[in-house]
């Protein structure tokens, strides 16, 4: 297993322009084997373009990339044999049934009839698609489609999986089911490169996150490193009257906290942890301050973007 020491994905200086418009402006990435790496950014940041290039679908204008040890340009066929792609631009066959879709993938991986069927049945079982397996995929819900998509990707036992916005458009339940699946993949030792617009998703799943903005990487690190760089996490306290707000502001220090007088609310900076919450409640208790309501705000993608780029993450042009 000497492979372990070699990065699963190694990208330097990736550039791509569409019709003269620069979409990727020199991307460098290193993804260690067996880890989950998240490319985080708003629509139009270049996430999907990156995945399309790294999955051999389109060519970069400049830059080098090695996937699972194979050069993207020199040995695309070997790269394809090592990767799996699931996401927005790749699709399931809506006319075929779930089983037929997965068996087709098994046939294309030349697994043989018996082994192919066995593996297809196993994957459909694993992704909770047994009941729907005989129905055309176009009748599936968004979550089922996404699970079928992933089952098809896993037929070939890829060492590196690209997940392009795997939960976009899913309801909360589908989203959590997908998270569970991705965690399982990571536990199995597969390298996962996932793109997402959601900070909580990257935080939840990724070992490392790179933030992409207008075709450039603006930050990279572990979720904790990133969040430490991002102010914006706070606890919001609401009061019934001016007096309560006044004494709380005094208690937490005017400089530390910020006041929203119209709403009779005070924002106290916090990382959102239970410990800091308890300290805050103890403090309020000590000072005998009555609080009408309390809510915890963790930094979201907007905070990250504002902190890192000085502009909000509002969607720009939908170049993908």
């Amino acid at each position: 297993m000497a492979i372990i020491n070699q990065p699963a994905v190694e990208v330097t200086g990736l550039r791509k322009a569409f019709a003269g418009k620069l979409v990727l402006d020199g991307i460098d990435l290193t993804v260690s084997a067996g880890t989950v790496f998240s490319l985080l950014g708003p629509n139009g940041a270049g996430k999907t373009t990156t995945v399309r290039i790294l999955s051999t679908l389109i060519r970069a204008d400049a830059g080098r990339a090695r996937i699972a040890g194979h050069d993207l340009v020199g040995a695309p066929h070997r790269v394809r044999a090592a990767i799996g792609v699931t996401g927005q631009f790749s699709a399931v066959d809506g006319i075929l049934t779930g089983t037929e879709n997965v068996v087709m993938m098994a046939d294309l991986h030349h697994l043989g009839r018996v082994e192919g069927r066995r593996r297809a049945a196993g994957l459909l079982e694993r992704f909770d698609l047994v009941e729907a397996a005989g129905r055309p995929a176009r009748t599936y819900s968004g979550g089922m489609r996404r699970r079928l998509d992933l089952a098809m990707t896993l037929v070939g036992d890829p060492r590196v999986i690209f997940l392009d916005e795997p939960t976009t458009g899913l309801d909360p339940r589908g989203r959590h089911a997908m998270w569970q699946i991705i965690r399982q993949l990571a536990a199995d030792g597969v390298t996962v490169l996932l793109t997402t617009q959601y900070l909580d998703e990257a935080d939840e799943l990724a070992d490392r996150i790179a933030v992409l903005d207008r075709g450039k990487l603006v930050a990279a690190g572990t979720p904790d490193e990133l969040k430490r760089r991002v102010p914006g996490g706070h606890i919001r306290l609401r009061f019934t009257d001016e007096r309560g707000l006044e004494s709380a502001a005094r208690a937490f220090g005017e400089g530390e906290s910020s006041r929203d007088s119209d709403a009779l609310a005070l924002h106290v900076p916090s990382d959102g942890s239970v410990r800091s919450l308890k300290a805050l409640l103890d403090r309020l208790d000590d000072e005998s301050i009555e609080v009408d309501g309390l809510s915890v705000h963790t930094p979201d993608l907007d905070d990250v973007f504002f902190a890192l780029t000085g502009h909000p993450s509002a969607p720009k042009e939908a170049v993908r």
Binding site: L57, I58, R80, A91, R320
Partner: protein, 259 residues
């Protein structure tokens, strides 16, 4: 490369499954040619047959008509193929195949083979139905073999063109021009009436367009008449279209897809 045959077979199975589950395509492939046959024989046949009786050499109009209907049928089939390929492209399944370590253009080969098989089945149906309507071919076994070969070659040629068109078109509507051409051109050929009955300019076009030698070849073989140089011309046109379609499709497939 070593898996080209196996991957193309997988893609062919997929294409045939699609065909069986597509009622509109089935209708295009089977019902419309038969409707055309009924229309021309039962409704228009009397007038057309009487009008061109001198040039038919005494044969019934249905005998004259069958090769033209076969040609129309191949056209309808290839329109379905262009739509199917376009759907694969726009829905993203082709993008998925492109990221897999499979024989590169096997998905296109699968579509082409599926189209040829669909066409041959439709052709058998049209011939069967024509027999019921009084079609009396004078072809011997070798002639029938040649007829089968010409239809298969024509289907191959039009299918590769259809695959290229479907792959190039940005959306289903983009395949419309191709569909129009393959469905209108037969009317301005020897398919339904002899070119000799047409006005001079149109006649020149009808005599020189690719479909006319193909129809004349089929007609000659079926009715036991000499085909002259039509046979060679027919094969030439088909091979040319097949090559153009194949290389065009391959070039588009190997180009980076744009969204």
């Amino acid at each position: 490369m070593s898996y080209a045959v196996s991957d193309s077979a997988t893609m062919l199975r997929r294409s045939l499954r699609h065909a069986l589950r597509d009622p509109t395509g089935m209708l295009m492939a089977f019902a419309i040619p038969i409707l055309l046959l009924l229309l021309f024989v039962g409704v228009l046949g009397g007038a057309i047959g009487a009008g061109i009786t001198g040039t038919l050499g005494g044969t019934a109009y249905v005998n004259y008509l069958v090769p033209g209907v076969i040609l129309m049928m191949v056209g309808y089939g290839s329109a379905t193929t262009a739509l199917a390929v376009n759907a694969d492209k726009t829905e993203g399944i082709i993008a998925r195949f492109r990221t897999m370590a499979i024989a590169r253009t096997s998905v296109l080969t699968g579509h082409m083979l599926g189209a040829v098989i669909r066409t041959m089945i439709s052709a058998a149906l049209v011939f069967g139905f024509a027999l019921l309507l009084g079609f009396r071919p004078a072809a011997g076994p070798l002639d029938w073999l040649a007829v089968t070969g010409v239809i298969a070659l024509l289907a191959l040629a039009q299918s590769w063109m259809a695959v290229a068109v479907g792959l190039s078109a940005a959306n289903p509507a983009g395949t419309g021009n191709f569909t129009l051409v393959v469905q209108i051109l037969p009317f301005v050929s020897s398919a339904f009436v002899p070119p000799e009955s047409m006005p001079v300019g149109v006649r020149w076009f009808a005599q020189h367009e690719p479909f006319t030698p193909i129809i004349d070849t089929l007609r000659g073989l079926l009715l036991g008449m000499p085909i002259g140089s039509s046979g060679l011309q027919a094969v030439g046109w088909c091979v040319a279209f097949a090559l153009v379609g194949y290389f065009w499709a391959r070039a588009v497939f190997n180009r980076d897809p744009v969204e």
